[in-house]
Amino acid sequence: MAAILEPYIYEGGVHQHTLITELLEDLGGYLIQKVPAATEVTLVMLIPRDDVHLIEALGTKLLGKLTRAPLTGTEIAVVSPTLASHHLPHSACDVAEFMRRGGANTNMIGLARGMGRRVSLSDNYERKLINEHDLAVFSFGTFSDCIKNKKPKLLEGVTIPKIVTGGPLDVKTEDVENADLYVGGVGRVAHRMRKSGELSALDILLENVVKVVEKMREDLAKDPLAVLPARVMKEIHEQIPEIFDVFSPAPVTLQLDGLRVKLPYEEFHEKVENLEFDEGVRLSDMADVTLSKMKNYILIKIKRESEVGFTA
């Protein structure tokens, strides 16, 4: 049985930060993402539960900060009705920012025709793209009438958990058809959210998203994945060196039940399918490798233990 991994974010100086990554490797943890910014570095990682104190001690010695990041290893879609200045950048980008602080990787999705009431629509392609994520956060604006009566049609056909945000605080989750959760206080604004009320609304949103993700993790634990996404990522790093030439901030993006690999599908899907594991199995035995709806990336969805019959 593999060690239980806990998600953490380390923020500190670039100087000697490799000591942390080396220790992490020795402990059997995984480095999910490394974001260097001038003299600072942010490390998103999965650490074996029993060894967190070791990393914490080293981090403190290096004058860095280790915080738990419960959304690590999730890919969240932040969906706004369109990409026009009415809906972006404010509030939607702030929502994404808070999700990232929780450790998630976020994608902003602006629908082509999501604006309006009677006229709002979502496209089949858009729904499929949203369904590739672990979870979607929709922003539905200021008016309770729109949130309750008109906008929920955008949620139809989206099979992943859907969290709806809007301005009014008195709307209940049951009022929003098809939504898994409604969080108020995050409506349309034309400025960056920085007042205390706005920030606490975003905090509440983050808390609620964390709860939903914890629930999804619990469900997943009942019938675990055939292989951990983080382990697949490690194998990709070792067996497909071209991944290091990708300039995206997260060349391999982890999801709760899969990964998105930002390499062209035509060229690399066979290499990904043929990834070898120590147990003598290939990735294609344990996962579906498909063309992602996002650019021509590769999407891996890992099968469950009950389907495959073993765990790697």
Binding site: P81, G116, R117, A190
Partner: protein, 198 residues
Amino acid sequence: MEALETFVVESPVQSEGDAYKSIVADIITELVLGGSIGRIKVIVRPEESLYLMAVILRGSQPRVKVSDMASVDISNHLKKEITISVEQEKYLPELLEKLWAKYGRAKVYQPERKTLIMTAQDVDAEKKFLADMVVADPQSTLQSRLVEMAIRATPEGFRVRYHSMDGHRFVFAASEDILKPEWIQEARDLAEELMEGE
């Protein structure tokens, strides 16, 4: 008329109207319209997919001359140099455009952000000319900014629009359905109502 002496946003649910007021206020700030708008009233009725707005503009704003935003001095009589020391940086791009067009880019020397040095044959005449040169005319851009504001403030799906500009009165209506004549009349009445305070 004071700037923004009346600023009302009405909606069937008043808390939503207040939230919308903050949106409109932000857009007014963004487009630097605060000084130009005297009174504004907005009505949003989401159930009917309707957005109405009436704006009464204040008297025209004066043009901005170089002497309003900077000081112009003859800094060196021998070298025939004129120095413009910029005090209000917000008009600097417009000023540079004009100076470059007149003197040529290489001949406008800018040793640091707020100092511009030019040379001229007749420095006294040139100094007077520069001090009186018009840098910006807020009035000419006002109408386009007003339309921009209306479009940004309206919910995005409301793409059937009506607007009219009559002197100081700006009337705007938007919906996602065909506009009913009574809605446009309501918007006009809004403007009338705002004018009554005169």
